[in-house]
């Protein structure tokens, strides 16, 4: 829009366009993807800790037989909320935090395609998470499991008051209201993820720097793209199922109620048709992250980049064709069970391709065992264990033996904790210097890793044995003398080691933010273009958008490849002439913390057609960034109000739905007519 048009439109908006760049309101109204990402990091890590505390309660309760620390009713709420929190409020948004921070930096863009939509998605996520947890002030938290099978999703559950004199009718009302928080709350959180997915797909495909073809993108961008497509096509399915559940519970529909002709298995199909792609939504970001960190700390290019890309896409496609392996015990019949058993085994193939590619990346590399590297190797090894136990689930008779036992709990914690969480921590240590400008302490990082690695295996490895010995999941206590006592104690001890590891991580972050070693642009001697810019990056990311001419762009700018003498690499140097002698290790080696800035920025300037200035760190005059806005927050405020309207009954219900809808529509309308900037700053 021209400046003239801006001036004319300034007066028509309800709010002035906010201009603060520091302080509270700058965060509330920001549309900068980096600030939004930091908010995602903080919020999702908070929910991660909440979910972790819930896990500790579960483990404390199960530490010994016939424990009465929590009641059956509380236990049901805690294990349900542990699952919901970790999946929807911790891991998915943690991945989104990485997406948000890194997409524009890794593809060489100034921001995402829809900055205000990005902020809207964050607010909806935050309000959705608080909405679900606000159920604690009504009649208790959801208690039907994260899977919400009918009729657990509405009527059935333990008497919420123990053995007291609550009528069956009243108990049913309590359960229905609890699970309304489930269906409505997840709907809200899902809306956030859907908007994020659209934003990320458009940004990655449409806003790449000049020269960055699809096959030159950092591998993390590919995995992000696959994740975003999985979200785009799987979220509407769970949205439909949740709407139907909501209508069942609140408005008397008959979708899943067998007493009224409905089919509870339909819920299971729809839930897992979303739920299995969801598993890949959780793990793909971590696959992408370690595919970035392993090459950097092996000082080799990623082994089989194309195979990594196509196996990721293959997992994305196959992920939609395996859902019924969650339902082998339902009784779908031998044909369906066999078909889904086969597709499940097929999906192990592209996953195996990835694991071998990571091994190929490590093989023969000059390994640096930094903390991100340790977590990366942790993912590869722990995920492999989880993947192998996953293949055993594909064998239908074996699956029947394991269904609903702790073996399944062991399996999915090996892939989601040993896989996804380890990968996210690898990324956290790797990109923390880029985000904050300071290194995390390597010493504390290694303490963190080993505590977590040992604690994780102590917690979840015994669950394999417990499950095979017949201990069922989702029970709040178990009888004495079943032979489960010892391994349950081990598991509980392990879980408290994990908690200790998380405390070490928090201490590391707090200390390093104040006193950490200053990072410089490129502390890890990395390969991708986010390391070209300063740490932390300026609001506009790059003073000059880099011209990309190869995969591992930054590596090639730093090191010229000596073709005649094999793979030896030498520093390119400020002169632009490669040293003739070949790379001596001393010359090649760049200590962490060395920004390596001179040659990089010189190269940046000379290879970029737009670079007509000599100073690449000149202040960014004339780069127009999107202005902050209040409207994403305004539009969001109406959404939980609609949610409470659905949960309450009587006149209050329609009043709240009406008020919420009005606020949201007004917010969106204000958004639509908002001028692009208050004044040119």
């Amino acid at each position: 829009m021209t400046a003239v048009a801006e001036k004319r439109h300034t007066g028509t908006s309800l709010f002035r366009r906010p201009t603060a760049t520091t302080g509270f309101w700058s965060w509330v109204t920001t549309v900068d993807h980096k600030k939004i990402a930091v908010m995602y990091f903080v919020t999702s890590f908070f929910f991660f800790c909440v979910g972790g505390v819930e896990a500790l309660v579960i483990r404390a309760q199960l530490a010994r037989p016939e424990n009465a620390m929590v009641s059956a009713d509380v236990y049901n709420q805690i294990f349900t909320m542990h699952g919901l929190t970790m999946i929807f409020l911790a891991l998915m948004p943690l991945a989104v935090a990485f997406f948000n921070y890194l997409i524009p930096l890794q593809i060489g863009a100034r921001d995402v395609a829809f900055p205000r939509l990005n902020m809207f998605a964050y607010w909806i996520y935050l309000f959705g998470g608080l909405f679900i947890y606000s159920s604690i002030f009504f009649s208790g938290m959801p208690d039907g499991g994260w899977f919400g099978y009918a009729p657990l999703s509405s009527l059935v559950g333990p008497d919420p008051t123990g053995a007291s004199a609550v009528s069956v009718e009243a108990a049913n009302q309590i359960h229905m209201r609890r699970m309304l928080f489930y269906s409505v709350g997840l709907q809200i959180v899902g809306l956030s993820s859907l908007m994020g997915a659209i934003n990320f797909i458009v940004t990655i495909l449409n806003m790449r720097a000049p020269g960055m073809t699809l096959m030159r993108m950092p591998i993390f961008m590919w995995m992000t793209l696959v994740t975003a497509f999985l979200l785009l096509f799987s979220l509407p399915i769970i949205a439909v199922a949740l709407f139907q559940l909501m209508f069942d519970v609140r408005y008397g529909a008959n979708f899943f109620n067998p007493a009224a002709g409905g089919d509870p298995v339909l819920w299971q199909h729809m839930f897992w048709l979303f739920g299995h792609p969801e598993v890949y939504i959780l793990i793909m970001p971590s696959f992408g992250i370690v595919s970035e960190t392993l090459p950097v700390f092996s000082r080799k290019p990623l082994f089989g980049y194309s195979a990594m890309v196509f196996s990721g896409i293959a997992i994305g496609f196959l992920g939609f064709g395996v859902w019924a392996h969650h339902m082998f015990a339902v009784g779908l019949g031998p044909v369906a069970n066999t078909a889904f058993g086969l597709t499940t085994m097929f999906i192990a193939v592209p996953t195996g391709v990835k694991i071998f590619n990571w091994l190929g990346t490590l093989w023969g590399g000059r390994l640096r065992f930094t903390t991100p590297m340790l977590f990366g190797i942790g993912l590869v090894s722990m995920f492999t264990i989880g993947g192998l136990s996953g293949v055993t689930h594909a064998v239908v008779p074996h699956n029947w033996q394991q269904t609903d036992t702790y073996y399944v709990v062991a399996h999915f914690h090996y892939v989601l904790f040993g896989g996804a969480v380890f990968g996210l921590f690898s990324g956290a240590y790797y990109w923390f210097p880029k985000i904050t400008g300071r290194m995390l302490s390597e010493r504390l990082g290694k303490v963190h890793f080993w505590l977590m690695f040992v604690g994780f295996n102590l917690t979840f490895a015994p669950m394999h044995i417990l499950g095979l010995n017949g201990m069922p999941r989702r029970i709040y206590t178990y009888a004495d003398g079943m032979g489960w006592d010892f391994w349950n104690v081990v598991s509980t001890v392990g879980s408290y080691l994990i908690a200790l590891a998380i405390l070490v991580f928090i201490a590391n972050v707090v200390l390093s933010l104040r006193r950490g070693e200053v990072a410089g642009n490129d502390p890890w001697d990395a390969r991708t273009i986010e390391w070209l810019t300063t740490s932390p990056p300026p609001p506009h990311n790059f003073d000059v958008i880099p011209q990309v001419s190869s995969r591992d762009e930054v590596w090639h700018r730093k090191y010229a490849v000596e073709t005649e003498h094999g793979p030896a690499r030498v520093p390119a140097g400020g002169s632009g002439e490669p040293s003739a002698a070949g790379g001596s290790p001393a010359a090649e080696r760049r200590a962490p913390g060395d920004p390596g800035g001179g040659p990089i920025t010189a190269d940046t300037a000379s290879s970029s057609p737009a670079a007509d200035t000599t100073a690449t760190h000149a202040p960014a005059e004339g780069i127009h960034m999107p202005s902050p806005s209040y409207y994403p927050l305004v539009a969001t405020i109406g959404i939980p109000i609609i949610g409470y309207g659905v949960i309450l009954t009587g006149v209050a219900s329609w009043v709240l739905i009406g008020v919420g809808a009005f606020i949201t529509i007004a917010g969106l309308f204000g958004w639509a007519i908002e001028p692009s900037a208050e004044e040119h700053h």
């Binding site: 829009m1 439109h9 028509t12 100034r110 921001d111 395609a113 829809f114 900055p115 205000r116 939509l117 809207f120 859907l194 997915a197 659209i198 934003n199 797909i201 458009v202 495909l205 449409n206 806003m207 790449r208 000049p210 960055m212 785009l232 096509f233 799987s234 979220l235 509407p236 399915i237 949205a239 439909v240 199922a241 709407f243 139907q244 209508f247 069942d248 408005y251 008397g252 529909a253 008959n254 979708f255 009224a260 002709g261 409905g262 089919d263 339909l266 729809m270 958008i545 127009h624 960034m625 999107p626 529509i665 969106l668 309308f669 958004w671 639509a672 007519i673 908002e674 001028p675 692009s676």
Partner: protein, 206 residues
């Protein structure tokens, strides 16, 4: 959805987009892809439950629908796609008055369709068909009302465009915004063609 109408206020692109398609339009296509799964799941549920009528007399897909009435409202909705095309064509050549007439006409036709749907619901309820009658009725009401909500959102966006145009805020250079709303509107129409065929026409012949 209405964020697409706001799209032109974003930062100017530094260069052409990588795929050559504008961001807002691409975003709308992505949304439509997602919506396909949404309606696909609703329609699949309906097909599963089309025979689950709980043996309620008179409330079956063969008996309850009034095909001639729904055919008329379907025709009205299809005509709204035509007026949407005319509205886009008008703003693309800068004829603002004609654009405002056709965008308002599109919203009006959509509103007539919605009125027909509400009338149809009242008739069904009077004949004893409610949300709770059977899985068939639950699936019918939820599917068609979600389509109705999509039409309502479309009407809201068209009225927003009309209002922007009245305020002089929708110049010819922003015709892309109208094109994106048009994409959404045509998609909602196409979904109705599928629903009309699958929900009304095919079961009545069974």
């Amino acid at each position: 959805m209405s964020e697409s109408t706001a799209a032109a206020t974003h930062a100017e692109p530094l260069h052409e987009t990588s795929l050559g398609i504008p961001n807002d339009k691409f975003g709308m296509w992505a949304l439509i892809g997602s919506e396909c799964m949404l309606f696909g799941a609703f329609i699949a549920t309906y097909l599963i439950y089309v025979g689950a009528t709980n043996d309620v007399e008179g409330v079956t897909p063969q008996e309850i629908f009034d095909i001639p009435f729904t055919s008329v409202s379907t025709f009205v909705l299809l005509m709204s796609s035509l007026s949407m095309v005319l509205a886009l064509a008008a703003i693309q050549v800068g004829e603002m008055r004609r654009f405002r007439i056709w965008s308002l006409a599109t919203a009006l036709l959509g509103a007539i369709f919605l009125s027909g749907q509400i009338y149809e619901y009242t008739v069904f309820v009077a004949e004893g068909m409610t949300m709770s009658t059977s899985p068939f009725t639950s699936a019918f009401f939820v599917l068609t009302s979600f389509h109705g909500v999509h039409v309502a959102v479309g009407i809201f966006m068209l009225l927003a465009l009309w209002a922007l145009s009245m305020m002089g805020r929708l110049p010819q250079s922003r015709a892309l915004v109208v094109e994106n709303v048009g994409l959404y509107w045509h998609f909602v129409d196409v979904v109705w063609i599928v629903i009309f065929t699958v929900v009304y026409l095919i079961p009545s012949e069974l």
